[in-house]
């Protein structure tokens, strides 16, 4: 097996074996603590441009199946695992983890100390890293890495370019795609919503002309301040149409109302984050994938915090005091992760119905 190197911005180099597609890449190094759900995670567009490390040491145990895609063309840069299962087993399995990575043109590295990598990221914060073939020019690769400026147009590259419908018989919902996970569509479809998925830069005017019952702001990759057009759109739509934001959608909704966001040290990526609903005290385990968060300081008067993470007290959800609009940082759509918070989709349905009345 050919050797690959994972070169970290801080100078640490891990040597391992090649996995998946054969290409050199550079991206932001992050880790995910889920013990299952690698297929959903890799195909989650929020990992756009990132090198994804799995803390669970054996990945690929149940292979990859036709159902668990969160996007058709994943844009995650690379994956880092301790061990990739060579003989996956599951009744739904179509192909192995390695075959899947190759088919999606995603390179990977296996046989590295993922726990050590996780600790480095935890201590130094997310950093740039390169995954390259093992060659003699490590110094060169290091200086290249240091010189690389990571792109800020992740949403553009993850979002759909043109609008498309996903018809059903119920409420009409416009889904603004910032890099959406299919599971959001599945949850809405389960509730019979008649969907139109639109690109991230769709204007308020275009949306209002569709006269939807609600607008769903999806998850997506990167820094929310890199998507100013969406912020403008939200400002105009809110109050006129009920809004539900998830993940990046939540951050954009908050920004549109005057809140600020910040980059977290190493983010929340995993699905054991306990989140408290402030009003009821109810605690749910949530699926999360974000590197930015809404700041609780200087929160505008119009917004109230509805959810907080119980350990670091970060803002996990807000609601507009005057408009029918709310958003959460986590993924009530799960996939991967617990279904504890799926009730929020029902809340969204109620919100739309009440607004009509």
């Amino acid at each position: 097996m050919s050797k690959r190197l994972l070169i970290l911005e801080d100078g640490t180099i891990f040597e391992g074996e090649a996995l998946g597609a054969n290409l050199d890449v550079t991206g932001e190094l992050v880790f995910n603590t889920g013990m299952t759900g690698y297929q959903e995670s890799i195909t989650d567009q929020s990992y756009n441009g990132q090198i994804l490390t799995f803390t669970y040491p054996i990945v690929g145990n149940y292979g990859v199946n036709r159902d668990d895609y969160e996007s058709i063309h994943p844009t995650c840069k690379a994956v880092v695992v301790h061990e990739a299962a060579r003989r996956p087993s599951n009744w739904r399995m179509q192909m192995s983890f390695d075959e899947f990575l190759k088919s999606k043109n995603i390179p990977g590295i296996t046989g590295v100390d993922t726990r050590a990598i996780t600790k480095i990221v935890r201590e130094h914060g997310t950093m740039k890293a390169s995954l390259v073939q093992a060659r003699d020019e490590v110094d060169h690769q290091m200086s290249q890495l240091q010189a690389t400026v990571l792109p800020t147009n992740q949403v553009e590259t993850s979002s759909t370019a043109t609008a498309y419908p996903s018809p059903n018989t119920g409420r009409k919902v416009v889904v603004v795609d910032f890099g959406l996970k299919h599971s959001i569509l599945r949850e809405l479809s389960k509730r019979e919503c008649n969907l139109t998925v639109v690109p991230y830069n769709t204007s308020a005017k275009e949306i209002l002309e569709m006269e939807p019952d609600g607008v769903m702001l999806t998850n997506g990759p990167g820094d929310p301040t890199d998507v100013p057009e969406a912020i403008e759109m939200i400002k105009e739509v809110q109050g006129k149409i009920p809004i539900f934001g998830i993940c990046l959608g939540h951050q954009l909704f908050s920004l549109a109302n005057g809140a600020t966001t910040y980059k977290m040290k190493f983010g929340h990526r995993g699905f054991n984050h306990a989140v408290r609903e402030v009003a009821t005290g109810r605690i749910d385990f949530t699926s999360q994938n974000h590197g930015y968060a809404v700041s609780s300081e200087n929160l505008p008067e119009d917004l109230m915090i509805t959810h907080v993470e119980i350990n670091d007290n970060s803002v996990e959800g807000v609601r507009h005091k005057y408009f029918p609009a709310f958003s959460v940082q986590f993924h009530p759509d799960a996939a991967p992760g617990p279904h504890d918070a799926s009730y929020l989709f029902d809340d969204f349905m109620d919100l739309m119905d009440n607004f009509k009345k």
Binding site: F14, F31, T33, G34, M35, T36, G37, Q39, E40, T55, Y56, P57, I58, N61, Y62, N65, D67, D68, H82, E83, A85, R86, R87, P88, S89, N90, W91, R92, V112, D113, T114, R115, A116, T118, K119, R122, G270, N272, A274, R276, G281, R282, I283, F285, I310, N311, A334, A335, P336, G337, P338, H339
Partner: protein, 1064 residues
Amino acid sequence: MPKRNDIKKIMIIGSGPIIIGQAAEFDYAGTQACLALKEEGYEVVLVNSNPATIMTDREIADTVYIEPITLEFVSKILRKERPDALLPTLGGQTGLNMAMELSKTGILEELNVELLGTKLSAIDQAEDRELFKELCESINEPLCASDIATTVEEAINIADKIGYPIIVRPAFTMGGTGGGICDTEEELREIVANGLKLSPVTQCLIEESIAGYKEIEYEVMRDSADNAIVVCNMENFDPVGVHTGDSIVFAPSQTLSDNEYQMLRDASLNIIRALKIEGGCNVQLALDPNSYEYRVIEVNPRVSRSSALASKATGYPIAKMSAKIAIGMTLDEIINPVTNKTYAMFEPALDYVVAKIARFPFDKFENGDRHLGTQMKATGEVMAIGRNIEESLLKAVRSLEIGVFHNEMTEAIEADDEKLYEKMVKTQDDRLFYVSEAIRRGIPIEEIADLTKIDIFFLDKLLYIVEIENQLKVNIFEPELLKTAKKNGFSDREIAKLWNVTPEEVRRRRQENKIIPVYKMVDTCAAEFESSTPYFYSTYEWENESKRSDKEKIIVLGSGPIRIGQGVEFDYATVHCVKAIQALGKEAIVINSNPETVSTDFSISDKLYFEPLTFEDVMNVIDLEEPLGVIVQFGGQTAINLAEPLSKAGVKILGTQVEDLDRAEDRDLFEKALQDLDIPQPPGATATNEEEAVANANKIGYPVLIRPSFVLGGRAMEIINNEKDLRDYMNRAVKASPEHPVLVDSYLQGQECEVDAICDGKEVLLPGIMEHIERAGVHSGDSMAVYPPQNLSQAIIDTIVDYTKRLAIGLNCIGMMNIQFVIYEEQVYVIEVNPRASRTVPFLSKVTNIPMAQLATQMILGENLKDLGYEAGLAPTPDMVHVKAPVFSFTKLAKVDSLLGPEMKSTGEAMGSDVTLEKALYKSFEAAKLHMADYGSVLFTVADEDKEETLALAKDFAEIGYSLVATAGTAAFLKENGLYVREVEKLAGGEDEEGTLVEDIRQGRVQAVVNTMGNTRASLTTATDGFRIRQEAISRGIPLFTSLDTVAAILKVMQSRSFTTKNI
């Protein structure tokens, strides 16, 4: 919600003596719970009849009662202590059943005692199959098609509706006792009849079989605010059908996609929310490997063996959190003690794989039925942690201490194909080794998956191990391959075998190539948060996280998996040793492989290495930690056996030195030592073949006690009366050779007693002498023991004290030793010396109030008795009488003979203390659940040589109103001597049980059975008859006595409880 202030005093019920299905895990749970409640400021009262536990130490609870867990005694304690509340969910099924019983009698209401934790109604709902079925139907959780039967006929009707194969599960029994899978109506009749008898509510569940489904467990917790979490899920290597306690188990689940994982998580949380569990709970599920179909198997509404495993596997202390939930705290306000930063409302993320393998007693019970089913048979278990399946599995395999160092077993290698296939299909305790062998023989894993229903994912891991073996064989000394082998859990010893070199050579090459393990932390959160848990496992990776401190440190070796002969007593001693080291300001480091115990709670020691107790694994830790030395005296034979190799490798053994350990353990050296010290021992000799054994026996004179050298718990030990039997033994039981000689000793049928001594090298302290009730011939671990001795003359006591001093000094003991004596014709002989802490240490420590293991540790670390204020010699005896009674698990083990002999058979012990011997005996019998009815019939069927003695006992039974029943020979003898006896027919080897004593037993016409076999090898008919009688008594729960000494003891109790009724 903050903790409750309206209650101050809480009573906890422990789980009593250790039996299969209810073992050391409840000492761990109970100890954690007591400490957690004390930490929150409550006064804790504890009741537990098992002295061999940490939880019954004075420091653990405020008030400790070592009394029988029976309605009579627990009620008494409740009235005396008047606690505000009772916490019953931490003492296993025993604690729960006791609470139910108390609740039914109304005493809790009367005394206004509140039940904490999960409500009894919820427990009922979880454990009563009908109620549970209703609940599951109401929340749409699928159960197997099933129905409750209260009679055999009902069971047959239900089975006809569902279709065979059928699973039978009796309600409210421990470890699935009495359950089984039936393919035919005949089998169903038998199992249901027995199950109904064993079920306290006379109910059996007759259930659809889902053989081949994956077995998955979720360990969940819920608090009063309805917060609910999954601590850990686990996947069984063995599909549904094998009790999860007996299965090989991996954590977390391995072959479940996120969809499946979350579906079963939803189901588990759905169930505990519906049950309104407050505390820990275990949910067992079965998942179809070919669809999303699943079934809920069962729920344990309390902490369990699985929760102990999950706690050790994740670091999340379930029992401690359960106790805090019980007093009203909620998960989102309790700090996670692992990170000390996050809250307990947290679902642990693992970044390693945990493997658990059960330890079975079949090395002791060679005739036992080794087939695995719904009835748990394991006595203990090992756990190992690694970064992949191969590593954790192989580490677990070599932790088992069953003579294997790899997933390779001689019996499997030698098996023909026919046997191999049978062993794969009909699951037994050693299936892993046969499946591995099948792969070595080139049988495709697809075929094996088809036969065994083991997931091909796991089989491929075994295949990979075999592939590495094959590569190693042809690539000697290749460093990259060596690294691969180590990353996949191979032991140096296995690699050495494949390379045909010594393990030392492999170790040397590893070190040369810098292939040495690193240690990773168990932190509940996959390194996402900073932690400081001192809990580590080895693996072959890049970063080492275990940093050596500057403090002086000592390594304490634990005792590995619990097995017959080496039980929780040794964990008790290990924990005390740790405490003593810490008290002296040194760092105590524990190495152990047993997930059930207190010693592997990371908060006990300064550092815990969860590792196999093999030379290689221990040595790797020593290389890193560079301790002052290693203490081997408290980890039973497991630790003692490591003394020599460690010492040879230059490691300092603290306490008694290796050459002196040898002088106690090596037969010849020991004999010489006794001669030098002028201490008599029963005449004996070693033999390396059959003829030599016969010659020696003739010289010594029959009866002789014969056994292989170097064994624990009297394995393969027998008493032999004549040459024919001796020759038979030599051919049947042992493979004697010059390396493995057989010991032939004169068997002196006298009074046995035993002593534990503590020695600082100059002075010797004897905390006490324990007198055995059963005469020599019954293994000391199976004997009842009385302290202080009741029948020994001062002269004998003086001799014992004198011999003990001479032995301790003469064998240069530093620390602890145990000596067994037999007194025959007023002469004291030494039978055996164990140069280490013995199983009586906890019992004796508790009754004498001398912290023996701690004191011995202080000796080991250079203190002396005098400075610590102890006077040499025999410690003064207190006023109370204490009796230790053995407890057996025969109801769980089919085809195991319950006849007591020189081989140890008990799994646990209970204690009774009172002011008189009779009262103490009564309590010990009650605590051991050997309850004798106040009136009724006693059945005698005894060997000829015992008839004379039986007569006296029978007379006394008749005197206090029992009727006598006996088989022909015994009956004739008793009648001749003027007793009224009802004669019953023997079985005489026949199948027909009508009119025989077996029917009598079955019909409940007999309240106790006395059966002895004598020392002469009985005829086959007599032997099988005796066996069937004993089986019948055990399965009916009727007190069975196989030693007349025990009969005399219980007679004494019954006499003391009976009033004389005599006409004038």
